[in-house]
Every structure is written in structure tokens, then in C-alpha cells.
């Protein structure tokens, strides 16, 4: 049964990784990366490594999503200021 789960989740992780690369929407790519971390955590559990799975669930699936979203919001704020014509001040900061 765990062989079936590992194989299925591995195939889904490959599909989600390809989707994260080729997606045009950045938010969808971030969500897909979160799915990859979640399924990697399950595979670590099934391979009897619970501490690695705990770290993956905390950092890979929780903190990485938050950090990516903060970076995405900052990038979009910079682009909005650049459209207003104040790009030099943003670059100097």
C-alpha cells in the first residue's frame, strides 16, 4: 500500500513541478510549489523519516509560501510605482 502511495504522489509531484514551471500565473506556481512540499512530506513519512517530514512541512510548505507571497507583493508594488514614473527612487532604495 505504501508503494502505491509513494508512486502516485511521485507522479503527481512531477506533474505539479512541470505545471509550476510552465504556468503564466505566479500565484498558481506558488500554490503548486506548496503542493510539491506537502507530498514530499508524505513521502518522507512513508520512508520512515518523521523528523525530515516535520521540517519539510514547517519550512517547505508553510514558510516558503509566505516568503514567496511577500516577495511577490513587493515586486508588484515596485512595478506599480514604476508605472507612476517614480522608478528612480525605487531603484535607489
Amino acid at each position: 500500500m505504501s508503494i502505491v502511495i509513494i508512486g502516485t504522489f511521485g507522479a503527481i509531484m512531477i506533474a505539479a513541478a512541470i505545471f509550476a514551471i510552465y504556468s503564466q500565473n505566479i500565484l498558481s506556481a506558488i500554490i503548486s510549489a506548496g503542493v510539491i512540499s506537502l507530498l514530499a512530506s508524505i513521502i518522507y513519512i512513508l520512508l520512515a523519516a518523521p523528523d525530515v517530514a516535520m521540517t519539510e512541512a514547517a519550512i517547505g510548505s508553510g514558510l516558503t509560501t509566505v516568503v514567496f507571497l511577500l516577495a511577490l507583493r513587493r515586486i508588484q508594488v515596485n512595478q506599480a510605482e514604476k508605472e507612476d514614473g517614480s522608478a528612480e527612487e525605487v531603484i535607489d532604495d
Partner: protein, 88 residues
């Protein structure tokens, strides 16, 4: 009893696959966010079933940690979506 555990694992695996299909083909980001929340809940259930099958309560810690940080991630994405829809 192992038959019940196997069937529960298979059911959770199948419903995970349905949710992940929605994540991949979902038209908007809100659909993908809702599907991620659904898959997260099913994965937590699958972790608990795996902990019961392995018989070691150490595996339950992973489910607890993911339930906290997964909620944090979903909350961050929801705040991002609401601020973006307010700014438009």
C-alpha cells in the same frame, strides 16, 4: 482491522488525486487555493492513518506541525488575494 486501514488509505489517496486535478486545471487562483486547503486536510488524515498503521505516535507530530503551518500558508494566500482584489 488492517483491511479498514487499507481501504481508508486508498479512499484518501483517490480524493487527493481528485483535488490535485482541480489544482492543476483550476481556472482561477481561488479555485487552486480551495483545492490546496482540501488536499491539505486529506493529507493530514492520511498522516494520521499512517501513524496508526506504523504504531508510533512520533508521526502524529508531523500532522500537527503541518496543520499549523498549512493554515498559516492558506491565510497568507487569502490575505494576498483580498488585498489584490481591493486594490483593483
Amino acid at each position: 482491522m488492517p483491511v479498514i486501514i487499507d481501504w481508508t488509505s486508498a479512499f484518501l489517496l483517490g480524493s487527493c488525486m481528485v483535488g490535485i486535478i482541480r489544482i492543476i486545471i483550476g481556472p482561477t487562483s481561488a479555485d487552486r487555493l480551495t483545492a490546496l486547503n482540501l488536499v491539505g486536510s486529506q493529507v493530514i488524515a492520511l498522516l494520521v492513518v499512517t501513524a496508526f498503521r506504523a504504531g508510533s505516535p512520533v508521526y502524529l507530530d508531523v500532522a500537527m506541525v503541518y496543520s499549523v503551518f498549512g493554515f498559516l500558508g492558506v491565510l497568507a494566500i487569502t490575505r494576498y488575494l483580498s488585498k489584490r482584489s481591493n486594490s483593483k
